[in-house]
Protein backbone atom coordinates (compact mmCIF):
# COMPACT_ATOMS: atom_id res chain seq x y z
CA UNK A 1 0.00 0.00 0.00
CA UNK A 2 1.23 3.48 -0.91
CA UNK A 3 1.63 6.53 1.35
CA UNK A 4 -1.82 7.75 0.27
CA UNK A 5 -3.34 4.48 1.38
CA UNK A 6 -3.91 3.25 -2.16
CA UNK A 7 -3.26 -0.34 -3.15
CA UNK A 8 -0.25 -0.96 -5.43
CA UNK A 9 -2.41 -1.61 -8.48
CA UNK A 10 -4.31 1.71 -8.19
CA UNK A 11 -3.02 4.81 -10.01
CA UNK A 12 -2.20 7.72 -7.68
CA UNK A 13 -4.30 10.02 -9.89
CA UNK A 14 -7.04 8.92 -12.30
CA UNK A 15 -5.51 8.23 -15.73
CA UNK A 16 -6.78 8.84 -19.25
CA UNK A 17 -10.52 8.43 -19.82
CA UNK A 18 -11.57 5.72 -22.27
CA UNK A 19 -14.66 4.07 -23.64
CA UNK A 20 -14.71 0.66 -22.00
CA UNK A 21 -17.04 -0.61 -24.75
CA UNK A 22 -14.21 0.14 -27.15
CA UNK A 23 -11.93 -2.06 -25.05
CA UNK A 24 -14.61 -4.75 -25.26
CA UNK A 25 -14.67 -4.55 -29.06
CA UNK A 26 -10.89 -4.71 -29.36
CA UNK A 27 -10.58 -7.58 -26.89
CA UNK A 28 -13.12 -9.58 -28.90
CA UNK A 29 -10.91 -9.14 -31.98
CA UNK A 30 -7.85 -10.31 -30.05
CA UNK A 31 -9.71 -13.37 -28.79
CA UNK A 32 -10.71 -14.11 -32.36
CA UNK A 33 -7.11 -13.83 -33.51
CA UNK A 34 -6.00 -16.14 -30.72
CA UNK A 35 -8.24 -18.76 -32.26
CA UNK A 36 -10.91 -18.91 -29.56
CA UNK A 37 -14.05 -20.58 -30.82
CA UNK A 38 -16.20 -17.54 -30.24
CA UNK A 39 -19.12 -16.21 -32.25
CA UNK A 40 -20.60 -12.74 -31.80
CA UNK A 41 -24.26 -11.78 -32.10
CA UNK A 42 -25.63 -8.25 -32.02
CA UNK A 43 -29.10 -6.69 -32.37
CA UNK A 44 -28.61 -3.70 -34.70
CA UNK A 45 -26.32 -1.76 -32.38
CA UNK A 46 -22.95 -3.06 -33.55
CA UNK A 47 -21.40 0.38 -33.91
CA UNK A 48 -22.50 1.43 -30.42
CA UNK A 49 -21.53 -1.82 -28.70
CA UNK A 50 -18.28 -1.99 -30.74
CA UNK A 51 -18.86 -5.57 -31.82
CA UNK A 52 -18.49 -4.06 -35.30
CA UNK A 53 -14.70 -4.46 -34.92
CA UNK A 54 -15.08 -8.21 -34.62
CA UNK A 55 -17.55 -8.21 -37.49
CA UNK A 56 -15.02 -6.55 -39.79
CA UNK A 57 -12.31 -9.06 -39.12
CA UNK A 58 -14.40 -12.22 -38.68
CA UNK A 59 -17.51 -11.72 -40.80
CA UNK A 60 -18.25 -15.44 -40.91
CA UNK A 61 -18.37 -15.61 -37.10
CA UNK A 62 -20.45 -12.46 -36.74
CA UNK A 63 -24.24 -12.55 -36.79
CA UNK A 64 -26.29 -9.40 -37.24
CA UNK A 65 -29.62 -10.41 -35.74
CA UNK A 66 -31.44 -7.16 -36.51
CA UNK A 67 -33.77 -5.53 -33.99
CA UNK A 68 -34.58 -8.95 -32.48
CA UNK A 69 -33.18 -9.22 -28.97
CA UNK A 70 -35.23 -12.20 -27.85
CA UNK A 71 -34.33 -14.09 -31.02
CA UNK A 72 -30.68 -13.19 -30.42
CA UNK A 73 -30.59 -14.62 -26.87
CA UNK A 74 -32.22 -17.93 -27.74
CA UNK A 75 -30.00 -18.22 -30.84
CA UNK A 76 -26.96 -17.69 -28.60
CA UNK A 77 -28.27 -20.59 -26.50
CA UNK A 78 -28.27 -22.75 -29.64
CA UNK A 79 -24.68 -21.82 -30.41
CA UNK A 80 -23.67 -22.70 -26.85
CA UNK A 81 -25.45 -26.05 -27.08
CA UNK A 82 -23.35 -26.73 -30.18
CA UNK A 83 -20.01 -26.06 -28.54
CA UNK A 84 -19.42 -22.43 -29.52
CA UNK A 85 -18.74 -19.58 -27.11
CA UNK A 86 -21.36 -17.00 -28.08
CA UNK A 87 -21.15 -13.33 -27.12
CA UNK A 88 -24.47 -11.50 -27.36
CA UNK A 89 -24.47 -7.71 -27.25
CA UNK A 90 -26.95 -4.86 -27.33
CA UNK A 91 -27.94 -2.03 -24.98
CA UNK A 92 -28.40 -3.15 -21.37
CA UNK A 93 -32.08 -2.21 -21.28
CA UNK A 94 -32.87 -4.54 -24.19
CA UNK A 95 -30.42 -7.34 -23.29
CA UNK A 96 -31.83 -7.74 -19.79
CA UNK A 97 -35.30 -6.26 -20.13
CA UNK A 98 -36.70 -7.15 -23.52
CA UNK A 99 -35.05 -10.56 -23.57
CA UNK A 100 -35.23 -11.39 -19.85
CA UNK A 101 -37.42 -14.44 -20.09
CA UNK A 102 -35.45 -15.83 -23.01
CA UNK A 103 -32.30 -15.40 -20.92
CA UNK A 104 -33.96 -17.05 -17.93
CA UNK A 105 -35.38 -20.12 -19.68
CA UNK A 106 -32.96 -20.75 -22.53
CA UNK A 107 -29.64 -19.62 -21.02
CA UNK A 108 -29.65 -19.43 -17.22
CA UNK A 109 -31.81 -22.46 -16.47
CA UNK A 110 -29.69 -24.89 -18.53
CA UNK A 111 -26.56 -23.01 -17.40
CA UNK A 112 -25.32 -22.44 -20.93
CA UNK A 113 -22.01 -20.87 -21.81
CA UNK A 114 -23.44 -17.60 -23.17
CA UNK A 115 -21.62 -14.30 -22.61
CA UNK A 116 -24.07 -11.42 -22.49
CA UNK A 117 -22.08 -8.20 -22.73
CA UNK A 118 -24.35 -5.16 -22.72
CA UNK A 119 -23.43 -1.52 -23.14
CA UNK A 120 -25.24 1.77 -22.39
CA UNK A 121 -26.27 0.91 -18.84
CA UNK A 122 -27.22 3.56 -16.29
CA UNK A 123 -28.24 7.22 -16.45
CA UNK A 124 -24.92 8.06 -18.08
CA UNK A 125 -26.63 6.98 -21.34
CA UNK A 126 -27.68 10.63 -21.27
CA UNK A 127 -29.79 12.32 -23.94
CA UNK A 128 -31.64 9.23 -25.18
CA UNK A 129 -33.55 9.41 -21.89
CA UNK A 130 -35.43 7.07 -19.58
CA UNK A 131 -36.40 4.43 -22.15
CA UNK A 132 -32.74 3.71 -22.85
CA UNK A 133 -31.26 4.04 -19.36
CA UNK A 134 -31.09 0.60 -17.75
CA UNK A 135 -31.32 1.12 -13.99
CA UNK A 136 -32.45 -2.40 -13.13
CA UNK A 137 -30.28 -4.65 -15.30
CA UNK A 138 -28.00 -5.79 -12.46
CA UNK A 139 -31.07 -6.70 -10.40
CA UNK A 140 -32.68 -8.57 -13.29
CA UNK A 141 -29.59 -10.66 -13.98
CA UNK A 142 -28.50 -11.12 -10.36
CA UNK A 143 -31.78 -12.78 -9.47
CA UNK A 144 -31.23 -15.59 -12.01
CA UNK A 145 -29.64 -18.80 -10.69
CA UNK A 146 -26.40 -19.77 -12.52
CA UNK A 147 -25.96 -16.23 -13.87
CA UNK A 148 -22.80 -14.32 -12.95
CA UNK A 149 -22.83 -10.52 -13.00
CA UNK A 150 -19.72 -8.43 -13.60
CA UNK A 151 -19.44 -4.63 -13.71
CA UNK A 152 -15.95 -3.43 -14.70
CA UNK A 153 -14.68 -0.10 -13.37
CA UNK A 154 -12.21 0.93 -16.07
CA UNK A 155 -10.45 -0.07 -19.30
CA UNK A 156 -7.80 -2.24 -17.62
CA UNK A 157 -10.40 -4.24 -15.76
CA UNK A 158 -12.69 -4.52 -18.80
CA UNK A 159 -10.08 -6.33 -20.84
CA UNK A 160 -9.38 -8.73 -18.00
CA UNK A 161 -13.08 -9.36 -17.45
CA UNK A 162 -13.69 -10.21 -21.10
CA UNK A 163 -10.77 -12.66 -21.04
CA UNK A 164 -11.84 -14.16 -17.71
CA UNK A 165 -15.39 -14.89 -18.82
CA UNK A 166 -14.10 -16.84 -21.82
CA UNK A 167 -11.99 -19.03 -19.50
CA UNK A 168 -14.98 -19.48 -17.19
CA UNK A 169 -17.79 -21.86 -18.23
CA UNK A 170 -21.39 -20.77 -17.87
CA UNK A 171 -23.69 -17.80 -18.33
CA UNK A 172 -22.50 -14.33 -17.44
CA UNK A 173 -23.78 -10.78 -17.72
CA UNK A 174 -21.22 -7.98 -18.15
CA UNK A 175 -22.43 -4.41 -17.72
CA UNK A 176 -20.70 -1.67 -19.72
CA UNK A 177 -21.62 1.98 -20.18
CA UNK A 178 -21.72 4.62 -22.90
CA UNK A 179 -19.50 7.36 -21.44
CA UNK A 180 -15.74 7.42 -21.00
CA UNK A 181 -14.42 6.02 -17.72
CA UNK A 182 -11.26 7.40 -16.07
CA UNK A 183 -8.54 4.75 -15.86
CA UNK A 184 -8.10 3.66 -12.25
CA UNK A 185 -5.75 0.68 -12.43
CA UNK A 186 -2.20 0.10 -13.57
CA UNK A 187 -1.18 -3.04 -15.42
CA UNK A 188 -0.55 -4.99 -12.22
CA UNK A 189 -4.27 -5.07 -11.42
CA UNK A 190 -5.77 -8.53 -11.42
CA UNK A 191 -9.47 -9.36 -11.81
CA UNK A 192 -10.88 -12.62 -10.49
CA UNK A 193 -14.50 -13.70 -10.75
CA UNK A 194 -15.89 -13.72 -7.21
CA UNK A 195 -13.26 -11.37 -5.73
CA UNK A 196 -13.76 -7.81 -4.52
CA UNK A 197 -10.62 -5.64 -4.41
CA UNK A 198 -9.70 -3.19 -1.68
CA UNK A 199 -8.46 -0.11 -3.56
CA UNK A 200 -7.75 2.02 -0.55
CA UNK A 201 -7.44 1.19 3.13
CA UNK A 202 -9.48 3.09 5.74
CA UNK A 203 -10.82 2.86 9.26
CA UNK A 204 -14.00 4.96 9.54
CA UNK A 205 -16.25 3.96 6.64
CA UNK A 206 -16.20 1.47 3.78
CA UNK A 207 -17.40 2.53 0.34
CA UNK A 208 -18.43 -0.31 -1.95
CA UNK A 209 -18.77 0.75 -5.58
CA UNK A 210 -19.20 -0.54 -9.12
CA UNK A 211 -18.65 0.79 -12.63
CA UNK A 212 -18.12 4.50 -13.08
CA UNK A 213 -18.91 5.02 -9.39
CA UNK A 214 -15.61 3.41 -8.39
CA UNK A 215 -13.73 6.49 -9.55
CA UNK A 216 -16.29 8.67 -7.74
CA UNK A 217 -15.76 6.58 -4.60
CA UNK A 218 -11.99 7.10 -4.76
CA UNK A 219 -12.60 10.83 -5.17
CA UNK A 220 -14.99 10.73 -2.19
CA UNK A 221 -12.23 9.15 -0.10
CA UNK A 222 -9.91 12.04 -1.06
CA UNK A 223 -12.60 14.53 0.01
CA UNK A 224 -13.25 12.70 3.28
CA UNK A 225 -9.61 12.47 4.30
CA UNK A 226 -9.40 16.27 4.21
CA UNK A 227 -12.04 16.31 6.96
CA UNK A 228 -10.20 13.68 8.93
CA UNK A 229 -12.38 10.76 7.85
CA UNK A 230 -10.56 7.65 6.71
CA UNK A 231 -12.49 5.77 4.02
CA UNK A 232 -11.82 2.28 2.74
CA UNK A 233 -12.82 1.86 -0.95
CA UNK A 234 -13.74 -1.53 -2.38
CA UNK A 235 -14.40 -2.38 -6.03
CA UNK A 236 -17.15 -5.02 -6.14
CA UNK A 237 -16.93 -5.67 -9.89
CA UNK A 238 -17.95 -9.26 -9.31
CA UNK A 239 -21.46 -8.46 -8.09
CA UNK A 240 -22.27 -12.13 -8.41
CA UNK A 241 -20.71 -14.29 -7.13
CA UNK A 242 -20.19 -11.69 -4.45
CA UNK A 243 -17.13 -11.69 -2.18
CA UNK A 244 -18.79 -12.17 1.21
CA UNK A 245 -15.47 -12.45 3.02
CA UNK A 246 -14.04 -9.12 1.84
CA UNK A 247 -17.34 -7.30 2.35
CA UNK A 248 -17.80 -8.59 5.90
CA UNK A 249 -14.15 -8.01 6.79
CA UNK A 250 -14.02 -4.40 5.62
CA UNK A 251 -17.48 -3.53 6.97
CA UNK A 252 -16.72 -4.96 10.39
CA UNK A 253 -13.49 -2.94 10.64
CA UNK A 254 -15.13 0.41 9.79
CA UNK A 255 -18.62 -0.18 11.18
CA UNK A 256 -20.19 2.07 8.54
CA UNK A 257 -20.92 1.37 4.87
CA UNK A 258 -21.84 3.38 1.77
CA UNK A 259 -22.65 1.72 -1.56
CA UNK A 260 -22.40 3.57 -4.88
CA UNK A 261 -23.81 2.59 -8.28
CA UNK A 262 -25.29 4.10 -11.45
CA UNK A 263 -28.30 1.76 -10.99
CA UNK A 264 -31.37 1.49 -8.80
CA UNK A 265 -30.54 1.09 -5.11
CA UNK A 266 -33.16 -1.66 -5.17
CA UNK A 267 -31.70 -4.96 -6.24
CA UNK A 268 -28.34 -3.68 -7.43
CA UNK A 269 -25.08 -3.34 -5.52
CA UNK A 270 -26.82 -1.61 -2.61
CA UNK A 271 -29.25 -4.49 -2.42
CA UNK A 272 -26.54 -7.14 -2.74
CA UNK A 273 -24.30 -5.62 -0.05
CA UNK A 274 -27.28 -5.12 2.27
CA UNK A 275 -28.20 -8.78 1.90
CA UNK A 276 -24.67 -9.87 2.78
CA UNK A 277 -24.30 -7.54 5.73
CA UNK A 278 -27.83 -8.15 7.01
CA UNK A 279 -27.09 -11.84 7.16
CA UNK A 280 -23.46 -11.86 8.36
CA UNK A 281 -22.57 -8.51 9.86
CA UNK A 282 -25.39 -5.97 10.40
CA UNK A 283 -23.86 -2.56 9.74
CA UNK A 284 -25.35 0.93 9.26
CA UNK A 285 -25.53 1.52 5.51
CA UNK A 286 -26.39 4.28 3.04
CA UNK A 287 -27.04 3.50 -0.59
CA UNK A 288 -26.07 5.98 -3.30
CA UNK A 289 -27.84 5.24 -6.57
CA UNK A 290 -31.12 5.84 -8.34
CA UNK A 291 -33.80 6.08 -5.67
CA UNK A 292 -36.73 4.16 -7.15
CA UNK A 293 -37.26 6.43 -10.10
CA UNK A 294 -36.68 6.50 -13.85
CA UNK A 295 -33.99 8.57 -15.50
CA UNK A 296 -34.41 11.49 -17.89
CA UNK A 297 -32.79 13.16 -20.89
CA UNK A 298 -29.68 15.28 -20.35
CA UNK A 299 -25.92 15.14 -20.58
CA UNK A 300 -24.81 11.80 -19.16
CA UNK A 301 -22.18 13.12 -16.75
CA UNK A 302 -24.44 16.00 -15.68
CA UNK A 303 -27.14 13.47 -14.86
CA UNK A 304 -24.79 11.95 -12.28
CA UNK A 305 -24.87 15.37 -10.58
CA UNK A 306 -28.59 15.78 -11.08
CA UNK A 307 -29.39 12.48 -9.38
CA UNK A 308 -26.84 12.89 -6.59
CA UNK A 309 -24.38 10.29 -7.81
CA UNK A 310 -21.14 12.24 -7.38
CA UNK A 311 -18.16 11.90 -5.04
CA UNK A 312 -19.58 14.76 -2.97
CA UNK A 313 -22.82 12.84 -2.39
CA UNK A 314 -20.91 9.73 -1.36
CA UNK A 315 -18.82 11.78 1.06
CA UNK A 316 -21.94 13.43 2.51
CA UNK A 317 -23.57 10.04 3.00
CA UNK A 318 -20.45 8.77 4.76
CA UNK A 319 -20.34 11.76 7.13
CA UNK A 320 -24.04 11.36 7.83
CA UNK A 321 -23.48 7.76 8.86
CA UNK A 322 -20.59 8.66 11.13
CA UNK A 323 -22.78 11.28 12.86
CA UNK A 324 -25.43 8.65 13.48
CA UNK A 325 -22.81 6.25 14.84
CA UNK A 326 -21.44 8.93 17.16
CA UNK A 327 -24.92 9.86 18.39
CA UNK A 328 -25.71 6.26 19.25
CA UNK A 329 -22.39 5.99 21.07
CA UNK A 330 -23.22 9.02 23.18
CA UNK A 331 -26.66 7.65 23.98
CA UNK A 332 -24.84 4.51 25.08
CA UNK A 333 -22.86 6.56 27.61
Amino acid sequence: MSATGLSDFVLEEPGESTYIREVYGKTLVELGREGRDIVVLDADLTVSTKTSYFGKEFPERFFTMGVSEQDMMATAAGFALSGKVPFASTFAVFATGRAWEHVRQSIAFPGLNVKIVATHAGVTVGEDGATHQALEDVALMRVLPNMKVIVPADAVETEQVIRAIVRDKGPVYVRLARVKFPTIFNESYHFDIGKARILRGGTDVTIFAIGIMVSEALEAARILVKGGVSACVVNVSSVKPIDVETIVKTASVTGAVVTAEDHSIIGGLGGAVSEVLGEYCPTPIKRIGMRDRFGTSGNGMKLLEHFGLKARNIADAARGLLDINRRSESVGL
Binding site: T46, V47, S297, H306
Partner: protein, 278 residues
Protein backbone atom coordinates in the same frame (compact mmCIF):
# COMPACT_ATOMS: atom_id res chain seq x y z
CA UNK B 1 -60.88 21.64 -32.86
CA UNK B 2 -57.95 21.78 -35.27
CA UNK B 3 -58.97 22.98 -38.73
CA UNK B 4 -57.59 20.38 -41.12
CA UNK B 5 -56.77 21.10 -44.74
CA UNK B 6 -56.33 19.13 -47.92
CA UNK B 7 -54.57 22.01 -49.66
CA UNK B 8 -51.39 20.35 -50.86
CA UNK B 9 -49.43 23.58 -51.03
CA UNK B 10 -50.24 24.38 -47.43
CA UNK B 11 -49.24 20.88 -46.34
CA UNK B 12 -46.00 21.03 -48.31
CA UNK B 13 -45.11 24.30 -46.66
CA UNK B 14 -45.83 22.87 -43.20
CA UNK B 15 -43.62 19.87 -44.03
CA UNK B 16 -40.81 22.19 -45.09
CA UNK B 17 -41.03 24.14 -41.85
CA UNK B 18 -41.29 20.98 -39.78
CA UNK B 19 -38.07 19.72 -41.41
CA UNK B 20 -36.26 22.98 -40.77
CA UNK B 21 -37.25 23.10 -37.12
CA UNK B 22 -36.51 19.47 -36.36
CA UNK B 23 -33.05 19.89 -37.86
CA UNK B 24 -32.40 23.02 -35.81
CA UNK B 25 -33.53 21.18 -32.68
CA UNK B 26 -31.30 18.17 -33.39
CA UNK B 27 -28.38 20.46 -34.14
CA UNK B 28 -28.87 22.26 -30.83
CA UNK B 29 -29.23 18.95 -28.96
CA UNK B 30 -26.04 17.63 -30.60
CA UNK B 31 -27.53 14.12 -30.60
CA UNK B 32 -30.57 12.31 -31.88
CA UNK B 33 -31.94 10.54 -34.92
CA UNK B 34 -31.77 12.64 -38.07
CA UNK B 35 -32.39 10.17 -40.90
CA UNK B 36 -35.49 8.49 -39.52
CA UNK B 37 -37.02 11.81 -38.46
CA UNK B 38 -36.74 13.22 -41.98
CA UNK B 39 -38.23 10.12 -43.60
CA UNK B 40 -41.44 10.41 -41.54
CA UNK B 41 -42.24 14.10 -42.04
CA UNK B 42 -44.89 13.98 -44.79
CA UNK B 43 -46.71 11.08 -43.11
CA UNK B 44 -46.88 12.74 -39.69
CA UNK B 45 -47.71 16.18 -41.07
CA UNK B 46 -50.50 14.77 -43.25
CA UNK B 47 -51.99 12.86 -40.31
CA UNK B 48 -52.03 15.91 -38.01
CA UNK B 49 -52.84 18.64 -40.54
CA UNK B 50 -55.21 16.84 -42.88
CA UNK B 51 -56.70 13.78 -41.25
CA UNK B 52 -56.89 13.49 -37.49
CA UNK B 53 -59.66 14.91 -35.34
CA UNK B 54 -57.77 16.71 -32.60
CA UNK B 55 -57.58 19.96 -30.67
CA UNK B 56 -54.18 21.35 -29.64
CA UNK B 57 -55.99 23.66 -27.22
CA UNK B 58 -57.66 20.70 -25.53
CA UNK B 59 -55.23 17.78 -25.68
CA UNK B 60 -57.40 15.70 -23.32
CA UNK B 61 -60.50 15.99 -25.51
CA UNK B 62 -62.35 12.65 -25.32
CA UNK B 63 -63.31 12.65 -28.99
CA UNK B 64 -59.78 13.11 -30.30
CA UNK B 65 -58.21 10.56 -32.59
CA UNK B 66 -54.88 9.12 -31.45
CA UNK B 67 -51.44 9.03 -33.01
CA UNK B 68 -48.77 6.68 -31.70
CA UNK B 69 -45.18 6.95 -32.86
CA UNK B 70 -44.08 3.37 -32.48
CA UNK B 71 -40.67 4.28 -33.95
CA UNK B 72 -40.08 6.55 -30.97
CA UNK B 73 -36.56 7.59 -31.98
CA UNK B 74 -38.12 9.60 -34.85
CA UNK B 75 -39.76 11.91 -32.32
CA UNK B 76 -38.11 15.16 -33.49
CA UNK B 77 -40.48 14.98 -36.51
CA UNK B 78 -43.44 14.56 -34.15
CA UNK B 79 -42.39 17.36 -31.75
CA UNK B 80 -41.88 19.71 -34.67
CA UNK B 81 -45.30 18.81 -36.10
CA UNK B 82 -46.99 19.21 -32.71
CA UNK B 83 -45.39 22.62 -32.27
CA UNK B 84 -46.56 23.77 -35.71
CA UNK B 85 -50.05 22.42 -34.96
CA UNK B 86 -50.11 24.58 -31.83
CA UNK B 87 -49.56 22.14 -28.95
CA UNK B 88 -46.66 24.22 -27.66
CA UNK B 89 -44.47 27.09 -28.77
CA UNK B 90 -41.91 26.26 -31.44
CA UNK B 91 -39.19 27.85 -29.31
CA UNK B 92 -39.48 24.89 -26.92
CA UNK B 93 -38.08 22.67 -29.69
CA UNK B 94 -34.68 24.08 -28.85
CA UNK B 95 -34.80 22.34 -25.45
CA UNK B 96 -34.87 18.91 -27.11
CA UNK B 97 -33.01 16.23 -25.11
CA UNK B 98 -31.86 18.68 -22.43
CA UNK B 99 -32.27 18.28 -18.70
CA UNK B 100 -35.76 19.31 -17.51
CA UNK B 101 -37.16 19.51 -21.06
CA UNK B 102 -40.57 18.06 -21.82
CA UNK B 103 -39.11 17.03 -25.16
CA UNK B 104 -37.36 13.85 -24.08
CA UNK B 105 -34.96 11.94 -26.33
CA UNK B 106 -37.69 9.37 -26.81
CA UNK B 107 -41.40 10.22 -26.34
CA UNK B 108 -42.68 10.27 -22.78
CA UNK B 109 -46.45 10.06 -22.25
CA UNK B 110 -47.49 13.67 -21.68
CA UNK B 111 -50.86 14.85 -22.97
CA UNK B 112 -49.99 18.51 -22.30
CA UNK B 113 -47.71 18.38 -25.32
CA UNK B 114 -49.80 15.85 -27.26
CA UNK B 115 -47.72 12.73 -26.63
CA UNK B 116 -50.18 9.85 -26.31
CA UNK B 117 -47.81 7.02 -25.30
CA UNK B 118 -44.27 6.39 -24.11
CA UNK B 119 -42.33 4.75 -26.91
CA UNK B 120 -38.69 4.33 -27.90
CA UNK B 121 -38.25 0.65 -27.30
CA UNK B 122 -39.18 -0.68 -30.73
CA UNK B 123 -42.06 -3.10 -31.11
CA UNK B 124 -44.51 -1.75 -28.52
CA UNK B 125 -46.56 0.89 -30.34
CA UNK B 126 -48.87 -1.29 -32.39
CA UNK B 127 -49.91 -3.31 -29.33
CA UNK B 128 -50.70 -0.08 -27.50
CA UNK B 129 -52.71 1.09 -30.52
CA UNK B 130 -54.61 -2.22 -30.49
CA UNK B 131 -55.52 -1.65 -26.86
CA UNK B 132 -56.87 1.80 -27.64
CA UNK B 133 -58.77 0.50 -30.68
CA UNK B 134 -60.36 -2.25 -28.60
CA UNK B 135 -61.31 0.19 -25.83
CA UNK B 136 -62.99 2.56 -28.30
CA UNK B 137 -64.95 -0.32 -29.82
CA UNK B 138 -65.99 -1.48 -26.37
CA UNK B 139 -67.39 1.97 -25.65
CA UNK B 140 -68.99 2.34 -29.08
CA UNK B 141 -66.86 5.39 -29.86
CA UNK B 142 -65.73 6.39 -33.34
CA UNK B 143 -62.22 7.69 -32.48
CA UNK B 144 -59.59 6.43 -34.90
CA UNK B 145 -56.00 5.41 -34.14
CA UNK B 146 -53.01 6.11 -36.35
CA UNK B 147 -49.71 4.41 -35.68
CA UNK B 148 -46.35 4.83 -37.39
CA UNK B 149 -43.90 1.94 -37.41
CA UNK B 150 -40.39 1.68 -38.82
CA UNK B 151 -39.27 -1.12 -41.08
CA UNK B 152 -36.50 -2.07 -38.65
CA UNK B 153 -39.22 -2.57 -36.09
CA UNK B 154 -40.64 -5.36 -38.25
CA UNK B 155 -37.67 -7.45 -37.09
CA UNK B 156 -39.16 -7.51 -33.57
CA UNK B 157 -41.22 -10.59 -32.81
CA UNK B 158 -43.55 -8.48 -30.66
CA UNK B 159 -44.56 -6.46 -33.73
CA UNK B 160 -45.90 -9.61 -35.38
CA UNK B 161 -47.81 -10.58 -32.27
CA UNK B 162 -49.51 -7.19 -32.47
CA UNK B 163 -50.11 -7.48 -36.24
CA UNK B 164 -51.87 -10.78 -35.57
CA UNK B 165 -54.01 -9.28 -32.80
CA UNK B 166 -55.18 -6.33 -34.92
CA UNK B 167 -56.53 -8.53 -37.69
CA UNK B 168 -57.91 -11.23 -35.39
CA UNK B 169 -59.83 -8.48 -33.56
CA UNK B 170 -60.94 -6.86 -36.85
CA UNK B 171 -59.67 -3.44 -35.80
CA UNK B 172 -60.92 -1.32 -38.69
CA UNK B 173 -60.61 1.79 -36.51
CA UNK B 174 -56.85 1.40 -36.80
CA UNK B 175 -54.61 2.69 -39.58
CA UNK B 176 -50.90 1.82 -39.55
CA UNK B 177 -48.09 3.33 -41.60
CA UNK B 178 -44.73 1.67 -42.16
CA UNK B 179 -41.91 4.13 -42.83
CA UNK B 180 -40.18 1.86 -45.34
CA UNK B 181 -36.85 3.65 -45.71
CA UNK B 182 -34.90 0.38 -46.02
CA UNK B 183 -32.26 1.39 -43.50
CA UNK B 184 -31.77 0.47 -39.86
CA UNK B 185 -29.16 1.44 -37.28
CA UNK B 186 -26.33 -0.62 -38.71
CA UNK B 187 -26.95 0.04 -42.39
CA UNK B 188 -29.18 -1.18 -45.21
CA UNK B 189 -31.70 -3.71 -43.99
CA UNK B 190 -30.84 -6.02 -46.87
CA UNK B 191 -27.32 -6.32 -45.39
CA UNK B 192 -28.40 -6.77 -41.76
CA UNK B 193 -31.55 -8.89 -41.80
CA UNK B 194 -33.87 -8.51 -44.73
CA UNK B 195 -37.61 -8.53 -44.08
CA UNK B 196 -38.95 -8.92 -47.61
CA UNK B 197 -41.58 -9.46 -48.79
CA UNK B 198 -43.14 -6.84 -46.50
CA UNK B 199 -46.46 -6.36 -48.33
CA UNK B 200 -47.18 -10.06 -48.60
CA UNK B 201 -46.38 -10.64 -44.96
CA UNK B 202 -48.89 -8.05 -43.75
CA UNK B 203 -51.46 -9.39 -46.23
CA UNK B 204 -50.91 -12.93 -45.05
CA UNK B 205 -51.47 -11.69 -41.49
CA UNK B 206 -54.95 -10.49 -42.46
CA UNK B 207 -54.46 -6.77 -43.11
CA UNK B 208 -55.65 -4.64 -45.99
CA UNK B 209 -52.36 -3.47 -47.50
CA UNK B 210 -51.80 -0.31 -49.51
CA UNK B 211 -48.42 0.10 -51.16
CA UNK B 212 -47.44 3.73 -51.43
CA UNK B 213 -44.60 4.06 -53.97
CA UNK B 214 -43.58 7.47 -52.60
CA UNK B 215 -44.16 8.14 -48.93
CA UNK B 216 -43.33 11.82 -49.44
CA UNK B 217 -46.10 12.35 -52.02
CA UNK B 218 -48.70 14.24 -49.99
CA UNK B 219 -51.68 13.87 -52.40
CA UNK B 220 -51.01 10.12 -52.46
CA UNK B 221 -50.89 9.99 -48.65
CA UNK B 222 -54.22 11.83 -48.45
CA UNK B 223 -55.78 9.24 -50.81
CA UNK B 224 -54.73 6.41 -48.47
CA UNK B 225 -56.68 8.09 -45.63
CA UNK B 226 -59.84 7.95 -47.74
CA UNK B 227 -59.25 4.35 -48.70
CA UNK B 228 -58.60 3.39 -45.08
CA UNK B 229 -62.07 4.52 -44.08
CA UNK B 230 -63.76 2.37 -46.70
CA UNK B 231 -62.20 -0.85 -45.41
CA UNK B 232 -64.46 -2.63 -42.93
CA UNK B 233 -63.74 -5.65 -40.75
CA UNK B 234 -59.96 -5.50 -40.94
CA UNK B 235 -57.09 -3.17 -40.11
CA UNK B 236 -55.42 -1.06 -42.78
CA UNK B 237 -51.70 -0.56 -43.33
CA UNK B 238 -49.87 1.75 -45.69
CA UNK B 239 -46.40 0.56 -46.68
CA UNK B 240 -44.89 3.96 -47.42
CA UNK B 241 -41.67 3.79 -49.42
CA UNK B 242 -39.60 6.63 -48.09
CA UNK B 243 -36.07 7.97 -48.24
CA UNK B 244 -34.05 8.00 -45.04
CA UNK B 245 -32.77 11.55 -44.55
CA UNK B 246 -35.34 12.90 -47.07
CA UNK B 247 -35.03 16.55 -48.04
CA UNK B 248 -31.32 17.07 -47.43
CA UNK B 249 -29.02 15.67 -50.11
CA UNK B 250 -26.10 14.89 -47.78
CA UNK B 251 -28.35 12.83 -45.46
CA UNK B 252 -30.42 10.97 -48.05
CA UNK B 253 -29.86 7.20 -47.98
CA UNK B 254 -26.77 7.64 -45.81
CA UNK B 255 -26.87 4.97 -43.11
CA UNK B 256 -24.48 6.88 -40.86
CA UNK B 257 -26.98 9.70 -40.28
CA UNK B 258 -29.31 7.34 -38.46
CA UNK B 259 -28.30 8.41 -34.98
CA UNK B 260 -26.20 11.51 -35.57
CA UNK B 261 -27.28 15.15 -35.31
CA UNK B 262 -26.31 17.71 -37.97
CA UNK B 263 -23.03 19.57 -37.42
CA UNK B 264 -22.80 23.35 -37.93
CA UNK B 265 -21.83 22.96 -41.59
CA UNK B 266 -24.38 20.24 -42.22
CA UNK B 267 -27.15 22.38 -40.75
CA UNK B 268 -26.13 25.25 -42.96
CA UNK B 269 -26.27 23.06 -46.07
CA UNK B 270 -29.60 21.63 -44.96
CA UNK B 271 -31.20 25.02 -44.33
CA UNK B 272 -30.03 26.27 -47.69
CA UNK B 273 -31.51 23.25 -49.47
CA UNK B 274 -34.76 23.70 -47.59
CA UNK B 275 -34.97 27.30 -48.71
CA UNK B 276 -34.24 28.83 -45.33
CA UNK B 277 -31.42 31.35 -45.20
CA UNK B 278 -29.14 30.44 -42.30
Amino acid sequence: MFKTTSDVNVLKEVARKVRIDLLKALHRAKSGHTGGSLSSVEIIVSIYFSEMRHDPGNPRWEDRDRFILSKGHGVPALYSTLAHAGYFDASELMTLRQLDSRLQGHPEYDLDIGIEASTGSLGHGLSTANGMALAFKLDGRDNRIYVLLSDGELQEGATWEAITSSSYRKLDNLCAFVDRNRFQNDGAMADIKDIEPVDEKWRAFGWEVENLPDGHDIPAILKTFEKAKTVKGKPFVVIANTVKGKGVSIFENQGKYHGVAPSDEELEIALKELGEAA
